[in-house]
Amino acid sequence: MFPTPLAILLFIAPESPWWLVRQGRLAEAEKAVKRLGRASSNDNPADAVAMMRRTIELEKTEKKPSLIELWKGTDRYRTLIVCGVYASQNLTGNLIANQAVYFFKRKANYLL
């Protein structure tokens, strides 16, 4: 049920300006920036697109990140925080709390 409204929203949503810049479709990227931004920050979408272009060019010169880097230096601490927070979503009682129906059912059995 939930994917349907999402699919409709996605269909009418503007294309990602970053993706458009990567494809070299700069005019369309400007339009997308205009649609996505707040009215107050829309003074100069051309500037925003120029900044994206520059960032993408800079990214190309940077080394591709590798899985080994995740476990080096301070990045190891950062990776472990993310892993721990993800994992603990299972451990904070969520699994029993989401069984509320089970307790309601039990309760119903007593009531009968």
Partner: protein
């Protein structure tokens, strides 16, 4: 009839969770992620212990009413505090360059813990296995307390920090509890 009531109450839980997630938008505006995450977990930990106690009082209508409501309270509070905050922390902690990889590995860690936990949860609740019922609240309170302690020690406060500041603070190895007081000068560059 009873099944219908249980199903309706299940739907009500979902609706309340939905509202709580929207209230969390307000909460994150005023409180830091660390505050919400650590204290939210601690509060849930308390409610899980109470759920365990309610289940230990013997089988009565009052006791099972209490268990059902406490289950609802725990799940609703989880949606108000720790759950949305955990997504914020996941999104902010890794360095920008490594973020897609870190998030992928984190999701892997989630499933490594998720699968055994689902087994454990089913065994604890099923009447023909361990049949712990609400007493499994004690078990989850234990794991929740460990998570609370670990997050108190290790999760820093990243609210109002830029990517640059977060990078610098991690580089300096500032202890998580001291992030809030630490000032990063505009001219600092490490």
């Amino acid at each position: 009839m009873a099944d219908n009531t249980a199903f309706a109450l299940g739907l009500i839980t979902s609706a309340l969770q939905w509202i709580m997630v929207m209230l969390s938008w307000v909460l994150t505006t005023y409180l830091g992620r660390r505050t919400i995450y650590v204290y939210g977990q601690l509060i849930n930990c308390g409610f899980l212990v109470v759920l365990g106690i309610a289940a230990s009082c013997g089988a009565s209508k009052a006791a099972s009413n209490a268990q059902a409501s406490l289950g609802l309270i725990v799940s609703v509070l989880f949606c108000l505090g720790p759950a949305p905050a955990s997504w914020v922390i996941i999104g902010e902690t890794s360095s920008v360059r490594l973020r897609p990889l870190t998030t992928g590995i984190g999701r892997g860690a989630y499933y490594i813990v998720n699968i055994p936990c689902i087994f454990l949860a089913s065994y604890m609740l099923n009447t023909d296995k361990w049949d712990l019922g609400g007493k499994s609240g004690y078990v989850w309170a234990g794991t929740a307390f460990i998570c609370t302690a670990m997050s108190y020690i290790w999760i820093p406060e990243m609210k109002h920090r830029s990517f640059r500041e977060i990078d610098i603070l991690f580089q300096r190895r500032v202890p998580a509890r001291k992030w809030k007081q630490t000032v990063v000068d505009i001219n600092d560059d490490e």
